[in-house]
Symmetry: C2
Subunit: 204 residues, 2 copies
Amino acid sequence: MTKDMNTTPSRGPTDHNVRDQVVEAATEHFSHFGYEKTTVSDLAKAIGFSKAYIYKFFDSKQAIGEVICANRLAMIMDIVNAAIADAPTASEKIRRLLKTLTEAGSDLFFCDRKLYDIAAVAARDNWPSVVAYKQHLRQLIETILVEGRQAGEFERKTPLDEAAHAIYLVMLPYISPVELQYNLETAPTAAVLLASLILRSLSP
Amino acid sequence: MTKDMNTTPSRGPTDHNVRDQVVEAATEHFSHFGYEKTTVSDLAKAIGFSKAYIYKFFDSKQAIGEVICANRLAMIMDIVNAAIADAPTASEKIRRLLKTLTEAGSDLFFCDRKLYDIAAVAARDNWPSVVAYKQHLRQLIETILVEGRQAGEFERKTPLDEAAHAIYLVMLPYISPVELQYNLETAPTAAVLLASLILRSLSP
């Protein structure tokens, strides 16, 4: 998204650059003033573009919000993938998965910039980025289970998709930023306790 | 709360009766118009009492809300207790606990009367009734675990309070009405899958 694609000379900024600029400014603006309360007019004023110009690139405020939400979820996914990549066992992957989901979710939606507002709307309206993110994590859990079963770390009696889905449900309140808000304080402890419970449920 | 205590003759309604009347009318009113948006003036008008008269019995709108919330949580607790009372095993108690928590929570805060609004404020402000309800359920889980350990149904290696707390954390999104709202559709399936996962984690 942030690649430099200025290979052909252009007098004005490229479309990509303008889109990025709007998204960046909107992220900043929403994190201070909230997503719900901000209009495209407010945003235009804050960025210094005309409202009409913004509408050239985004159909609606939601279209901007969706890019911001998708960006944040992609950042969480990158952090999760990096954390589990070098884990020595499937069990350790389960532990790191819960830990990083919780930490990255807290940081990216609540601490660094308060974008909780976007998460709330995204969850309520089931934005495609949220649906894709959840599906991806559901799949990742299944992949870890298969790995652990093949290595003899995990039991094999429970049907794979049942076990994977149940673990996904345990993790869901920490996967979904909108649910995470209710558990921010207890999340670090919860991540450890829940990972241990999940691993007990998987013991052969 | 609803006992008839009219042993001494009285011209007007007894204080208890008036309190009950206000709570009942407020429950009805909040469930239609929402808790947050309703003022004590609105409520007084709807009930047909003066605002000053309501303030004779309740310090604030929140005081009324707290009674309503406490009543609903007590109703859920009664349903839970009745459901697990005759369960033949500790495992069956775990299953019924999750099932009834989910069903009664959905019914009493979302279906019968939409009192979600109160649950949201109660959770945000940590009302005493919510704290007490959670502590009670946390204790109930521990009691079931002890029973299952003594009967040889459950493993005994994990420290009791760790196991109980982890199970409580798995159940929390279904215990807290404000989190339950995000899982209403999937809750019946989740209750079954999560109970099975918990029981796998407890197997000796």
